[in-house]
């Protein structure tokens, strides 16, 4: 199974998404600590989708290449977007409950983190990687 797409509409989907992320990481040979980190980050991101965008999508894929094993997760939504990404990524926001809160925390858990956001569309891409 090289990729999985999960619609994020309900709270149960948060659970599905994070479990799938964990399982994919596990199948690809990532250690437990990294599986947990990834799953936790996905939980945060998909929860944001439910809270602020009502619905979205989570795509989990095996993005490995010759040198590294990489599990990539893209969380997309068509919600209001994050007004000030820079601010949202500072730690001052991390313990709040507002839009984008939890982003810095998620970033610190994963190896690669990329945000694209504008009113009407947000996509956050994260990945865990390890040398083959």
């Amino acid at each position: 199974m090289s990729h999985v797409i999960i619609d994020i509409n309900t709270q149960k989907d948060i659970i599905t998404a994070r479990q799938n992320a964990r399982d994919m990481a596990k199948d690809m040979g990532f250690k437990l600590a990294d599986q947990t980190r990834l799953a936790t980050a996905i939980s945060e991101l998909t929860r944001n989708v439910i809270q602020y965008a009502v619905k979205g999508q989570c795509r989990i894929s095996d993005d490995s290449d010759d040198t590294h094993k990489r599990v990539k997760v893209e969380v997309e939504d068509y919600g209001p977007g994050i007004p000030d990404i820079e601010k949202a990524m500072t730690y001052g926001y991390s313990t709040g409950r507002g839009l984008g809160a939890g982003l810095p925390g998620s970033k610190s858990l994963v190896h690669e983190f990329h945000i694209e956001s504008k009113p009407g569309y947000t996509k956050i891409t994260v990945s865990m990687k390890k040398k083959r």
Binding site: A33, T67, K131, R132
Partner: protein
């Protein structure tokens, strides 16, 4: 589809005289390799390597059109070369010797080509050029695979070193000690927390003593790593005592405004252990 009848002839020659060429190559290779290398690889395995490579090359050259070794025809040959290279790398055989595989094969093929096409200098020339190009690319692939394998080995060894350098000691029932030795950077910090937490779970310890005598520098970053380690251990139900902060360290830490907060620190390990026993005594064991 071969575009070149000369190529077909070469392919035919290789097929027709394969036994001879293989023999010539093997002999040449053996004469060039270090005796130790021969021993490490083993006669049987060496024979298997040369035969497999040769068969594959024969197929590649007879089916291929060109010098372009990236074509699918050559994929198999490259793959075999990579395997040979990796096999050798893991046994500590030098890359030069692995490259000799390719070069000695080229030498052998060259002399056969000269025999077959000696009377047609133009054709011979074309073939020699082609052979050189193929052989160069094979040698490069070999070297690349070798480097990659070495890097993997080094990486694995580094991992082992990381794990070995974060030992935990079971001082007493329910008391764990972890002497931190060396520089605490982000990678090690992660390893340290993991090791410590797992040890706490495995030994069901109530107290973990983190001894930092062997840590040369405690700056803000290191202190942050330490704090994270301590908090994590506490969430597992263990108390943490930090021992081994030297007078110099203490000065630096205060100057840098590093506050370990509520973390219990003791000057020496001895006092730390006494404190650990005190804590155990208070808790129901």
């Amino acid at each position: 589809m071969p575009q070149n009848t000369l190529q077909q002839k070469v392919a035919q020659m290789m097929t027709g005289r394969s036994k001879e060429i293989l023999k010539a190559w093997s002999e040449r290779l053996r004469s060039l390799l270090q005796p130790n290398t021969l021993r490490v690889i083993g006669e049987h395995h060496l024979a298997s390597q040369t035969e497999t490579l040769f068969s594959s090359l024969m197929v590649s050259m007879s089916s291929g059109t060109s010098e372009d070794i990236h074509e699918p025809d050559f994929e198999n040959t490259i793959e075999i070369l990579r395997n040979i290279s990796e096999y050798n790398a893991r046994r500590g055989i030098s890359p030069v010797e692995t490259a000799l595989f390719v070069m000695s094969l080229k030498d052998a093929l060259l002399s056969f080509l000269q025999e077959e096409f000696g009377k047609d200098p133009m054709a011979l020339n074309a073939e020699i050029i082609r052979l050189n190009q193929i052989s160069d690319r094979m040698a490069l692939a070999t070297y690349e695979a070798f480097t990659k394998a070495r890097e993997e080995i080094i990486s694995q060894q580094n991992q082992t070193i990381l794990e070995l350098s974060t030992p935990t000691v079971r001082l007493w029932d329910k008391i764990l000690m972890m002497p931190l030795i060396g520089v605490v950077d982000t990678i090690r910090a992660s390893q340290i927390i993991e090791t410590l937490l797992q040890a706490i779970v495995d030994t069901e310890s109530h107290v973990a003593i983190l001894d930092v005598t062997g840590v040369p520098i405690i700056d803000t970053q290191v202190a942050q790593h330490l704090m994270k380690t301590i908090i994590a251990a506490k969430m597992l139900g263990a108390s943490v005592i930090v021992t081994g902060i030297s007078p110099d360290m203490a000065q630096t830490m205060v100057k840098l405004d590093i506050d370990l907060g509520a973390v219990k620190t003791c000057g020496t390990l001895r006092i730390g252990v006494a404190e650990a026993f005190r804590i155990i005594g208070k808790k129901v064991v």
